[in-house]
Symmetry: C2
Subunit: 320 residues, 2 copies
């Protein structure tokens, strides 16, 4: 049997079943993007992401933005728990023939976002590698943690920002579509230069009942949140926030922008839930849109769009 | 300019100069194998190591032992600070066509050492990759930390265990030397299945003045310890502990066992210093050998062997 037949989820499930379960200090362990460990101060948050050449990026991508993004995706994981990012560790395997200019730009991009979010790079490992390989570990802290497993029936569902821009940007890059139009540039920028929602996460730690960041697309991440919380959901499809740039691009390529909004990954917006009565406080404090409601688990995960209700399938990005 | 011209040390130096210096809570940051962060409980220790196919290992190596070793090298880093390893995070990129059987054995090896050292695997990331890529992050704790930068003139220098076995094991593997003799098996085993010295490190945290683990070989690691401590050293070459197996193997291939002991990496023994008067306590409590003495920086780093004194060059493993 090949690993691709087991898949990412099958692998995680195997680890969960076969490795010893940690003590009660570990609030969140295997299977989540961010581990949560209770300590005297509150909670220690630890996340780790891989970025591999020709899997997650091409060496032809802008190294400054790639360096920025390598850290941004980890900062987003900490943000999704309501945490404050603090210390990072960079594991990097360099092809021997890679130019120092490329690496310097990459590191300057990483420094740029570290400085912006007050993250310190304090360790790691370097070596040579046949392909460029990046592994960032980020440690954060919080006094109160928001999990993905605590959504309750009746809670409203929200997202920050707009959805689908990053997926469309990747589509442009992968299909090598050339255009000087500003909406092309905007969508590519949204893919390469995502904004982790740390400030919003810090605001939401005292307000949200559950939270996750959108790395795999709304469909998959909502399914993950609902599965962990043992609830169902109804999404008001027409309320999903979509940028004018994405609408314009989709009109040109004759594609439904909802496909990018639901299935395109890497928006790194926050998907969260909160109990009834806080709607005004939320939308007046942060750039968030109410897009649905948590229901009983038996109702499944559905989407209401143009007056019709249908099941929202779990689909989007899966590795292997 | 290529990255190989900058080198690993050049890269680390660049990062040290160009990234913001963290606050005083970070006792050890960039440039060390393990970062040390002061917290309310004592010290948080964080280490991260990369293992890359065709750089650090071949896919033909025993996957169980490789899984074990991927974690062992990190446990050794925590041990070298006097720490207790606690929580680990595995980033792993799998070639799509790799068999599940291989991965299962790898993971069982990792579980074996995790269980032995009471380390919990609580997170990470997986994805597909052109080559097998392994990145382990390990978090540990200690109430008292032993740094590599605090050796003092007059301290004695010690190592745990025997040196050079691992380097000889690697030599056998890389040169594809075939033998059923037990000393071949022993040396290969010492390379693939190193023993992190956690218990010894815990004992030494209250006794050692400085400590480092031997990953790059005695020459390089002693140079690193002396540079960070701003001291010189004299090594009593004839006292360097060498196993009978290594002596036998070296006699057969007509090689000096000191070459492996000084330059062969990956022994994962502890190199430490301690003030005069504790010699008996140390050698009666743990398997350690006194091999030298810390001197003034101006005296350099020298080795006395067969009555002759010479400079001990910094040489051994360097990446790129």
């Amino acid at each position: 049997m090949k690993i691709k037949e087991i898949g990412e989820l099958g692998f995680i499930e195997w680890v969960r079943k076969n490795f010893k379960i940690p003590g009660k200090d570990v609030i969140v362990g295997i299977g989540d993007d961010t581990a949560v460990i209770k300590d005297k101060d509150g909670y220690l948050l630890v996340t780790k992401d891989l970025l591999i050449e020709d899997v997650h990026f091409k060496i032809s991508f802008d190294p400054f933005l790639l360096g920025r993004k390598s850290m941004a995706v980890n900062i987003s994981d900490i943000a999704s728990m309501g945490g404050e990012p603090l210390y990072s560790f960079l594991g990097i395997g360099f092809p021997k023939e890679l130019s120092w200019e490329w690496i310097e730009k990459f590191m300057l991009g990483m420094r740029d976002i570290c400085d912006k979010y007050k993250v310190f790079l304090i360790g790691g490992d370097t070596c040579s590698s046949p392909k460029l390989f990046i592994s960032v570990t980020l440690i954060g802290k919080t006094d109160k943690v928001v999990l993905r497993s605590s959504a309750r029936e009746g809670d409203y569902i929200y997202v920050t920002g707009k959805l689908g821009d990053s997926g469309a940007g990747l589509y442009i890059l992968l299909n090598n579509l050339k255009s000087e139009d500003s909406h092309y540039k905007y969508l590519i920028e949204r893919h390469l230069n995502p904004t982790p929602r740390v400030e919003e996460g810090r605001f939401l730690k005292d307000i949200a009942s559950s939270m996750i960041d959108l790395s795999d697309g709304l469909s998959i991440d909502l399914h993950n949140l609902c599965r962990e919380s043992r609830v169902g959901a109804l999404i008001y499809g027409d309320r999903i926030p979509i940028s004018d740039e994405l609408k314009k691009f989709c009109a040109e390529i004759n594609e439904d922008p909802f496909r990018f909004a639901l299935q395109g990954g890497e928006d790194y917006e926050l998907l969260f839930t909160s109990s009834e009565g806080l709607e005004r406080k939320i939308v007046e404090s942060i750039p968030a849109t109410l897009i649905g409601r948590i229901e009983k688990r038996e109702k499944g995960i559905r989407i209401l769009k143009g007056g019709k209700e249908e099941n929202l399938l779990r689909s989007g990005w899966e590795h292997f």
